[in-house]
């Protein structure tokens, strides 16, 4: 399909962002918003076209394109090329990104009241970076896009949130710290594979260390360097501290993108690099990863239970969910792997939904303290029902998208070759313990906000300060929720149910890719 070009997919948001930033674009809030919304919807449609023409049985990269500048490869002399490729795995994440960016932009209508001129371009630049990460076929291209996400995210967190820039700084420092170690690993990998093969190349596939040319400790060194970068992003427990703070201090659409897509970059990186390049080291480290995953799962859940800020609950829910991803990847089996990827997709939707709920509530009550909330079901019933669907998804009830993921991970864990079996059974027991805890804190969140006596400080109209410092009164419609919010929530709810009822619709897309990766590991 000629009209399906990955560079267009990746760079069009960037170009649109520059267009909005340029002095020629009318400085009109509504025009900017509508324009970016229209673009995001078009972009989503375009990305689904990739799915439409995607052949799930195709072996290897389905779409591939090298971007050249005046017919010269990007860094030709170093063997580094700007090659983009898309296989089933990338495609899943690309569509997720595009979908969530679209929702974030729709949600921005009620969440963002100031600085539109900069906000929408930043979101679109972020989208470009994310898409680039998921499509990059070259190690350093991957790194470039990985870093590119940093600055827009910094501003999105610090400028439209709680005005607490320390959280944004924390995010930047953590991420950059991780990515620096990642860069170290990449560089060492790149040069040492050069010294073995004699070919300077940074293509992800050709860097693979399947043959045992290097000492194991050396491979493990690189592996850990890379893992560190992804661990900060995913996040894995000792490196997760940025997540809750960044989530809490950023505005809803940004948190949606953060929980929905940014965390997935970590998982994607682990799949592409740690599994794809170091199958043997990975299988040695797998038990460790499973333990880390379980720690994530339980630690996140335990923290979520005692939080009093509802957004923090959601943040720790994300932490907990990502633990399951790690467990699935560590299980080294097809079911576990697919479960992990499915979990990432599903968590993207569910966490976005929860964050959207929290955002809607916060906008109207001006508080996120759980003790100060209650009785919202009486003022915004529609929100409650949609919220119920999302919460059930978060708990992992069957026929919602959370269940197939968890189930596959659990079975995959048992199916893995790791010895001893008792260890695996223990891990399974701990995982399901996490499932019970999730029911606890999600229901707590749901009940304490929606049920109980009516809230006194709930206001259907909210005073906000616009760019010029004037007060604008925003009146919410009768049911307590605006149309754009309903659209976002119901799209998410629909997606959650759809993927729960038809998990194969996602699994089929990347089945072949996961086969390739796992076959590679078994060889």
């Amino acid at each position: 399909m000629n009209f399906l070009s990955i560079p267009v997919l990746i760079f069009s948001p960037l170009i649109v962002a520059l267009l909005i930033l340029s002095p020629f674009f009318p400085n009109n809030e509504i025009k900017i918003r509508r324009f970016s919304k229209a673009f995001a919807i078009l972009h989503f449609i375009y990305s689904t076209l990739f799915l439409l023409f995607f052949n799930p049985t195709n072996f290897g990269w389905s779409y591939q394109k090298e971007l050249t500048f005046f017919n010269v490869s990007w860094l030709k002399t170093l063997g580094i090329t700007a090659t983009f490729g898309m296989d089933g795995l990338s495609l899943v994440f690309v569509i997720l990104t595009s979908f969530l960016v679209m929702l974030a932009i729709i949600a921005s209508k009620s969440m963002i009241r100031t600085k539109h001129r900069i906000y929408y371009p930043l979101i679109l630049i972020l989208q470009s970076a994310l898409l680039g990460v998921f499509c990059a076929k070259d190690v350093f291209l991957f790194f470039l896009f990985w870093e590119l996400e940093l600055i827009p995210m910094y501003f999105l967190i610090s400028q439209w949130g709680d005005r607490d820039s320390s959280a944004a700084m924390k995010y930047v420092v953590y991420t950059f710290f991780g990515s620096m170690l990642m860069l170290l690993g990449m560089l060492v990998l790149y040069f040492y594979s050069f010294s073995i093969s004699g070919v300077l190349t940074a293509d992800i596939e050709s860097l693979s260390m399947s043959e045992n040319v290097f000492a194991m400790w050396f491979q493990a060194f690189i592996f850990l360097c890379l893992l560190f970068g992804f661990a900060v992003k995913l996040p894995i427990v000792p490196f997760h501290n940025w997540l809750a703070e960044a989530q809490v201090s950023s505005v809803t659409p940004v948190s949606i993108l953060m929980a929905g897509v940014l965390l997935k970059m970590g998982g994607y990186g682990i799949i592409r690099f740690n599994i794809g390049l170091f199958p043997e080291v990975f299988s040695n480290f797998a038990p460790l990863l499973i333990i880390l995953g379980v720690v994530n799962l339980l630690y996140g859940a335990c923290l979520a239970i005692v939080q009093t800020d509802i957004k923090k609950i959601v943040a720790y829910f994300s932490l907990s969910s990502m633990g399951l991803v790690l467990v699935g990847l560590g299980s080294l089996s097809e079911a576990g792997f697919e479960g992990a990827v499915f979990q990432m997709v599903s968590h993207g939707l569910i966490a976005s939904g929860l964050l959207m709920l929290v955002g809607i509530i916060y906008l109207r009550t001006k508080t996120r303290e759980i003790s100060a909330l209650g009785g919202l079901s009486q003022v915004m019933p529609i929100c409650m029902y949609l919220g119920l669907i999302i919460c059930l998804g978060a708990i992992g009830v069957p026929l919602f998208s959370g269940f197939p993921a968890g189930f596959m991970v659990l079975v995959g864990l048992l199916l893995s070759d790791i010895e001893p079996q008792a260890f695996l059974v223990c891990m399974i027991v701990l995982c399901v313990l996490g499932a019970v805890l999730s029911a606890g804190y999600i229901l707590r969140l749901f009940h304490k906000t929606f049920f109980g006596s009516v809230l006194s400080q709930f206001r259907a109209d909210t005073v906000q300060i616009d760019e010029d410092g004037n007060e604008i009164t925003v009146v919410y419609p009768k049911r307590g929720i605006t149309k754009s919010e309903i659209v976002v929530l119901s799209l998410l709810a629909f997606a959650i149910i759809f993927f729960g009822v038809f998990p194969n619709s996602v699994l089929d897309i990347f089945e072949v890719t996961s086969d390739i990766i796992l076959d590679f590991m078994k060889v």
Binding site: K170, V173, Y174, P238, H240, N241, Y299, C302, L303, I305, V306, Q307, S333, E334, A335, E338, G339, G375, S377, Q378, L392, I395, V397, P398, L399, F403, P404, F407, M408, L410, V411, G412, L414, L415, V425, I428, V429, V432, L433, A435, V436, A439, G440, L443, R444, H447, F450, F451, G452, P503, N504, L507, E511
Partner: protein, 649 residues
């Protein structure tokens, strides 16, 4: 004629999936109906719902007919749901058991929906209630028709969700939402245990039995699968798997120690409570137990475990019910206790008697809850039986049907007689004296609390002003219908059960054994007599006894009244132990992990301060720094050289 019937029934069986999706369609219709303000019609909602459940009933009856005609014939249709290392299918599976369950479930659903119209008519959330009921129908039908273990699990959890929704129906009431949450979480604990068991089963089916991958753990092959499993794994592992699966069943059937949530069901609207306690979530547990029976029966110790749990729950539940004052609580504990007995039946190997007992209990309990609900509404929401009395004069229908239900439930007459007697027979056959005695004790206590409730409510002095008869026609109609069913169903089913519903080979139900029957009746009416003396006749001796028993400091009474403090213990466990642990983690998160970053930031600041202060502005200090660095480096290099030359390198 017969041929035509066969053809028709075959057609119905083949298209049984319609039953599953009809309620969903109705949900959609009700949703559309209710969201158009000027068209919203309660009648239409009722008709749609009744239509769907009636159609379900028709389908079920024809399937049953089909199953009777073709004994041991299975109908199974599957589609792939999820495929990875293994494939998971969804499908429908009709055999005798599921057909029978389907008949009763749809029937009770029909009755309950009919009842609800009158009961919920004035409620603002009328449509929502019917939506829930239809969702419930979807889930329970999906569960009953499930073709494999995983599908069962899926719908089992969904039934749990609907139960949660129904309990929390009046979500403005704190107690309702709290009970709903509790029910959900306790069920969830059971569910995940079950899930572990299922995951292990899936694992074995994938590893040892790869030919069966297509439909993992289908019920048609479960027997074979578990036998393979039994031969593969050690006894202890098998026991562990069995216990895990049974834990799921325990949660659903409200067995010790996960029985407390059943009291929460009373927070739901009465018809919903009736549904949940009869063919709702508890039925899920029993049905699952029947489905997994091939697994349980292979292990002797597992069967003993089941029996033990069952009898303990039966006794504790009945014991607790004896002292409760809230009518609905009495009935709820009674459910837990009765289901314990059903499990005892499974444990002693009386498969068909257990199912029989369960079916009878289901219809009876539905009747009693419906009557109870109507009654409480008539009494201006007064649920405490101590403040009721002499309701028989004003509400004769309720009194009569309640009496029928009570008599039946304690196994004296009507349907209950057949089921209880056959179960008792099996228990006696089992040959454990403690068990038999326990069973008799259970019968005694059940009869006692049922008669106590009856006497306190319907007889005796008038204690409170009884309001007018709460007489919607749908309510009366449904109660009458259900009473008739309670009276006759045992008689109808008594013959066919052992032939029709059995495990592996037909076992004839043995309910006619003069000695046993007389013993049972003696116990029941003995209990009835004591209750009569205590609450009706006002016999002096008994009164003193009663007052002694009801003394606040009397431990047996306190235990009974507070349901053995299970609530308190679990709360303590959650609050003091678990939450403290979580707070400890929170502390670590804030001050240890968060502290690392703070320390790093601080170090950076300190460094920055040092570097910036060292920039004094005096050029001499700059020169000094440069010279210090330079001479330091020079000195080190020189020393290294000298050392090198000394070492002879």
């Amino acid at each position: 004629m017969n041929a035509v019937l066969t053809t028709i029934s075959e057609y119905f069986v083949q298209s049984i999936a319609t039953v599953l999706f009809l309620p969903l369609w109705v949900v959609l219709m009700i949703f559309i109906n209710s969201s158009i303000p000027f068209l919203a019609s309660k009648k239409m909602t009722l008709n749609l719902t009744l239509g769907s459940s009636f159609l379900g009933f028709v389908f079920a009856v024809f399937s049953l007919f089909y199953c009777i005609k073709n004994p041991q014939a299975l109908v199974e249709n599957n589609i792939t749901w999820m495929s990875t290392d293994f494939q998971i299918s969804f499908g429908v599976f009709v055999d005798n058991l599921s057909a029978l369950m389907l008949v009763f479930t749809s029937l009770i659903c029909f009755v309950v929906q009919l009842f609800s119209f009158g009961y919920m008519k004035k409620d603002e959330s009328f449509h929502r209630f019917y939506i829930y009921l239809n969702l419930f129908m979807f889930c329970i039908f999906g569960f009953i028709l499930a073709s494999n273990v995983i599908q069962s699990y899926v719908f089992l959890e969904l039934v749990g969700v609907i139960t949660y929704l129904l309990i929390g129906f009046w979500y403005k009431k704190r107690s309702a939402t709290r009970a709903a949450r509790k029910a959900f979480i306790i069920n969830r604990i059971g569910d995940v245990c079950l899930l572990i068991g299922i995951v292990v089963l899936v694992y074995f089916s994938v590893v040892f039995n790869s030919a069966q991958n297509m439909v993992t753990l289908s019920y048609s092959t479960l027997q074979f699968a578990v036998e393979t499993l039994y031969s593969m794994v050690s006894d202890n592992a098998y026991l562990a798997i069995g216990v895990l699966i049974f834990l799921g069943i325990m949660a659903k059937t409200a067995q010790i120690p996960m029985q407390n949530w059943i009291v929460g069901t009373i927070e739901a609207p009465a018809p919903a409570t009736a549904l949940m306690n009869s063919f709702g979530i508890v039925a899920v547990g029993v049905y699952l137990c029947a489905r997994f029976y091939p697994l349980f029966i292979l292990s002797k110790s597992l069967m003993i475990f089941i029996t033990f749990i069952g009898i303990v729950t039966a006794l504790i539940g009945a014991y607790v019910a004896m002292s409760q004052n809230d009518l609905r609580k009495i009935l709820a504990y009674s459910t837990s206790s009765q289901l314990g007995v059903v499990l005892v039946g499974f444990g002693v190997g009386a498969f068909s008697a257990s199912i029989f007992c369960f079916v009878v209990h289901g219809v009876t309990k539905a009747l009693m809850f419906l009557v109870g609900g109507a009654l409480i509404t008539s009494l201006k929401n007064e649920a405490d039986i101590r403040y009721m009395g002499a309701c028989r004069e004003k509400l004769p229908l309720y009194a009569f049907s309640f009496f029928i239900g009570a008599i039946s439930l304690c196994g004296a007459l009507f349907s209950g007689f057949y089921s209880e007697a056959s179960l008792f027979n099996s228990v006696l056959d089992f040959g454990n004296e403690f068990l038999s005695f326990g069973f008799l004790l259970f019968v005694f206590m059940s009869a006692f609390y049922l008669f106590r409730a009856y006497f306190l409510i319907f007889e005796g002095d008038k204690k409170d002003d009884i309001s007018q008869d709460f007489s919607e026609w749908t309510i009366k109609c449904s109660i009458v219908l259900l009473s008739l069913i309670v009276i006759f169903i045992g008689y109808i089913l008594r013959g066919c059960f052992g032939d029709f519903i059995f495990f592996i080979s037909p076992d004839k139900l043995n309910y006619l054994n003069l000695v046993q029957n007389v013993l049972l009746l003696f116990v029941v009416f003995g209990a009835g007599f004591i209750a009569y003396q205590l609450y009706m006749a006002q016999n002096k001796t008994y009164i003193i006894l009663k007052e002694k028993a009801l003394n606040k400091s009397n431990l047996p009474y306190k235990l009974s009244y507070n349901a053995f403090y299970f609530d308190k213990v679990s709360d303590w466990f959650a609050e003091s132990l678990f939450l403290r642990l979580c707070r400890f983690f929170d502390f670590i998160e804030k001050y240890v992990i968060g502290g690392i970053f703070v320390v790093l930031a601080l170090t950076t600041r300190v460094f920055s301060y040092i570097f910036s202060r060292s920039q004094t502005g005096n050029v001499q200090s700059y020169v000094t720094y440069s010279l210090i660095v330079l001479s330091g480096v020079l000195a080190v290099v020189a020393v290294l050289y000298i050392l090198g030359s000394l070492m002879g390198v």
